[in-house]
Symmetry: C2
Subunit: 612 residues, 2 copies
């Protein structure tokens, strides 16, 4: 991969177009977190392959913004390129607009007074582009062009938009018909005084239609748009993806099918008075199509209702079938994890003879999961970070970085699977042998944070921003912290990251209600040393109702022992020890009927209670 050549090609095009800079965000026309290869333009131009990051290229410089999960990985991947790493949320890091303001002022030649920057308006949300326009304007009036994609000219061999087949997601797992979901969506639109909506989020479309695809690595979604108007529903999709069975199913539900590229025309022909466009979900190009309709004589004016898509929250509240599916998927995942942990335990004693690397860990674990019924693949790239790799928050071992495990230190293992009945996401940090006191202390602080979330009781409707501190208070007292969120929603055989609710330090107003899934995954990362993270997926369930309202609590869905070897028991509160022992008893009781005698003895030991 020759990044410098690609930058040279890009700058040639920029000069021709009189552009001072080009911005490459990480997303696609659907604001996906993980995108199909066709839209990996930021990776292509920078070499950085994390799920979040923005590359900005001027005629004389280049920079890449990413968040703390990727600081170490980005540093590694940008080595030898001219990209400067910009660490988000670190004091002193300029915004993209601030940086461009300075760079363009500095680099402006007497004969090059271009101060126009460009971005592909299809690959950023309406809100993101609107904010960028406002921010750039403050930098000496820099303007933003939004209708130009240089990748069409310079990216040779760019992958096509995927054409993988769509499949039906059975009612047995979905638990609610497409018809009922659309009915509820229409009701929610009426409450927001909207006549219709454009759905762009791929997981929302898959959920609504009870369909699944395989267009995006690890995410069972398919590239499409869904336009809901008061009297019709239209799916915009490359028709080659639809089997006769799926076509029949769509027809039975009265859903029209149009080609993917026709969505702009569909919006122009939308004759109803107003339309809900979630400006964080719909891309700027389509937003502009609707906003500019009235300016063209042939189109009637359509008013935009700018609100959060009601589908986002609906999807996060699981119905009974979905919850049953989660329990089934977690049981299978727990069995695979226990088999893996036992395998690792046995192998550690013999590592010199039978070496095992991080990639080997990933392969072994995935193979064990694949033995389970309804397995459909992993839900994200396995993070298997041994030793100092554990401090790289989103480390994914590659043949270049892969290292063998040794019988000492900590292995951080964050992984998950897609089963037809549910999606899993689990992190365990495993002692491979002797540990330093620092490792034990850090591990125990992470465990305390994890357990405090598990123990939390809260009024229905509280936000994850309120609860987040419970995972951090113990480590903050030691001056330690992690900069990623503490938890995210998990889809039903859908994306492993599902919003809008989260546990995090930043404000996330989405209220937590019963039926939601959410992960609990605090961590601590000491660069160059090691990392620790402990993650269960939780279900929000009722706790009690009093004169002060309805209170909720968490139930652990994840079924897998938490390594006790690194625990400094004296640092735990009695309630924390109580939770750990109760959890381990539940894990043992639930998993053991499905295990061999040898596995049961191993699990018994792993789940034995700890005492002061």
């Amino acid at each position: 991969m020759n990044i410098n050549q690609r930058l040279a090609d890009l700058r040639e095009v920029m000069r021709r177009e009189h552009l001072a800079a080009y911005i490459f965000p990480s997303t696609d026309p659907h604001q996906s977190e993980y995108v199909a290869d066709h839209w990996k333009g930021r990776e292509w131009i920078s070499g950085f392959n994390g799920s979040a990051g923005t590359a900005v290229v001027t005629l004389t410089s280049a920079a890449l913004w990413t968040d703390s999960r990727y600081f170490l990985a980005a540093e590694e991947q940008l080595k030898g390129t001219e990209y400067q790493l910009m660490k988000l949320k670190i004091e002193g890091t300029p915004t993209i607009a601030e940086w461009l303001g300075k760079e363009i002022m500095q680099s402006r030649h007497p004969y090059e007074d271009w101060s126009e920057v460009a971005i592909d308006g299809r690959c950023s949300s309406a809100n993101a582009v609107k904010e960028l326009i406002a921010d750039l304007r403050k930098q000496n009036g820099i303007t933003l062009r939004t209708n130009f994609d240089p990748l069409k000219l310079i990216w040779k061999g760019r992958p096509v938009i995927p054409e993988n087949p769509v499949e039906i997601y059975p009612m047995e797992y979905a638990g609610e018909s497409c018809r009922d979901k659309i009915g509820r969506i229409r009701q929610a639109l009426r409450e927001k005084h909207a006549d219709g909506m454009l759905m762009a989020a791929l997981d929302d479309i898959a959920w609504t239609l009870n369909l699944r695809g395989s267009d995006v690595h690890c995410n069972p979604v398919f590239v499409s748009y869904l336009l809901i108007s008061p009297k019709s529903v239209t799916l915009y999709i490359n028709k080659v993806k639809l089997t006769p069975e799926v076509l029949a199913c769509l027809k039975a539900e009265d859903i029209k099918v149009e080609d993917y590229e026709q969505v702009e025309n569909g919006l122009k022909a939308y004759f109803e008075y107003n339309i809900l466009l979630d400006p964080d979900e719909v891309n700027y190009r389509l937003y502009e199509v609707v906003r500019n309709k009235g300016k063209q004589n042939s189109c009637p004016q359509t008013e935009i209702v700018e609100e959060e898509s009601p589908v986002k929250r609906m999807k996060t509240v699981k119905n009974e079938r979905e919850i049953a599916g989660f329990r089934s998927a977690m049981l299978k995942d727990g069995i695979a994890m226990v088999k893996f942990l036992r395998f690792l335990d046995l192998r550690i004693k013999n590592l010199e003879n039978e070496p095992l690397t991080e990639i080997g860990v990933d392969e072994m674990l995935t193979a064990l999961r694949a033995e389970q019924p309804l397995f459909r693949g992993i839900s994200f790239d396995t993070i298997a970070g041994y030793g100092e790799h554990g401090a790289v928050v989103h480390y994914e071992p590659t043949p270049e970085t892969d290292i063998p495990l040794k019988p000492e230190g900590l292995l951080l293992l964050d992984s998950g699977a897609q089963y037809l009945d549910g999606t899993t996401d689990i992190t365990r940090t495993i002692a491979l042998g002797p540990l330093t006191e620092e490792m034990k202390k850090v591990y125990t602080l992470v465990l305390k944070g994890h357990i405090q979330i598990e123990l939390c009781k809260f009024p229905s409707g509280a936000s994850g921003t309120q609860i987040d501190i419970l995972a951090r208070q113990a480590m903050w007292r030691e001056g330690l912290n992690y900069l990623h969120g503490t938890g995210h929603g998990v889809g039903t055989y859908l994306n492993v990251h599902e919003g809008p609710h989260q546990f995090r330090m930043e404000w996330k107003p989405a209220p937590l209600v019963a039926g939601m899934t959410i992960t609990d995954e605090p961590g601590i990362y000491l660069a160059g040393k090691f990392g620790a993270r402990i993650e269960n997926t939780l279900l929000i369930v009722p706790y009690k109702e009093t004169e002060f309202g309805k209170f909720l609590q968490f139930e652990s869905l994840t079924l897998c022992p938490i390594d006790k070897a690194p625990i400094l028991v004296d640092m735990l509160l009695p309630e924390e020890i109580g939770w750990l022992n109760d959890y381990h008893k539940m894990v043992f009781d639930t998993l053991s009927p499905h295990l061999s005698d040898d596995e049961i003895s191993w699990l018994q030991e792993a789940c034995a209670p700890v005492y002061f």
Copy 2:
């Protein structure tokens, strides 16, 4: 007070003006929390005297919205009127717009198709009115008139706008000159790309100019506006309030003085390009004056920069002199509190012979505070709630409600003082004799919440929304809660409530930084039984700096023992007992040099450590 007659007078005016409803908010043209009597229109029309509440009157109905602090008080005060109590933040309570939508639809007569509602645009913030306009529009297009004040016609004997003298606040306590503050404000305005600003918040003006007044009960502020432009500063104030000394001081600082009523003309004559107007602070009328300037031929267009006033945050970060003043004020307040608590202790044994009522408590405590140097008055009306009155969150005893104390149960005492060197705010809940197990449990849960905030360590810049849960987690586990905030900033011989930072369940983005004061005051209120609240005022100070950034902690400024009698020690964590004992030792060590021998022996007992 004949509320029904006032409503009849109002409705006569409403009919004449073709108004379907009139809205009376609780604030004044400066968005003050506590207002001068002239602006107590909501109290005059409804009889409800809480600091927060909105009365809405239609031709056939009336309702009053208030928050949980005032539910019980409002119920009492609205008895016998036609007002319906609307409990904010309780499920099922309609918004004002929703309620008006229904009421106006229902009551509309064939010959009365008025659907216009009115509010005095001077007595609500620009944002509040803009939101109301948008909300009403959704209710079948109800419109809002903003330029009509019926109180001018119907309120006989309305108090005038106060004309009390302004006094200089010495540098010895202010710690920063008016000139330096205005320099910093101008710098902050430049960073927000603003040329000037209109300051409307009375405490911001008092802080900026190092002046104080006495126009508002308990708040040492004076009614005025301050217009800052790049080259001049103008104070709009009734000139009768300015002594020669203050006039000379203003002149020395180059601050022009114009009459209070001239502020609109001042804004029309503001020729600079743009102006910062904080839309939560500036009233709708003045906002509209600026917004409409360009529409009048005689005025140049002025662009409005809608941002939070930079003064709000500046004022909350105390300088060294201010912090020294706080410590001095807290020492005096602690001495007065200890004298009072000892007096109460001695009196309880003899209550039958020498009865003491809630008002007596208030009078005695205020008298003891008044003995202290630099005392200027109380900082808010004392809340002395005995028994079930303790459950009325903002209960202020009146001759009608006053009850005698008995040697049993709990007295909730929330009070504070204005000293020239600082403002205090403290709550103690005191056992007067035998308590029920429920009282002890509730008190101990409140104490745990209080201590968990005291113990909290957090990264600089965290928000109070993140931290709030620490005060609630123990009580949430018991299904208990309180609906008010957990803490607020405190001014320097200024308003006892100072924002924008707070601890609360709702989102408050204001970052917490070193130098801020903030109260820590969780509570639990069991209606008809009793209430418990424990409050200290804290200072935010540095904790430690690590590779994860700067961490902060709290230091208790309040110096007063916390009643140990109601504590169920077994419910406390070791760290909570440790904090309590350390705090009491610090209180004893700091106060005892200033007390008599008898007082010292009492304090020694009150501050003796507790053990498991």
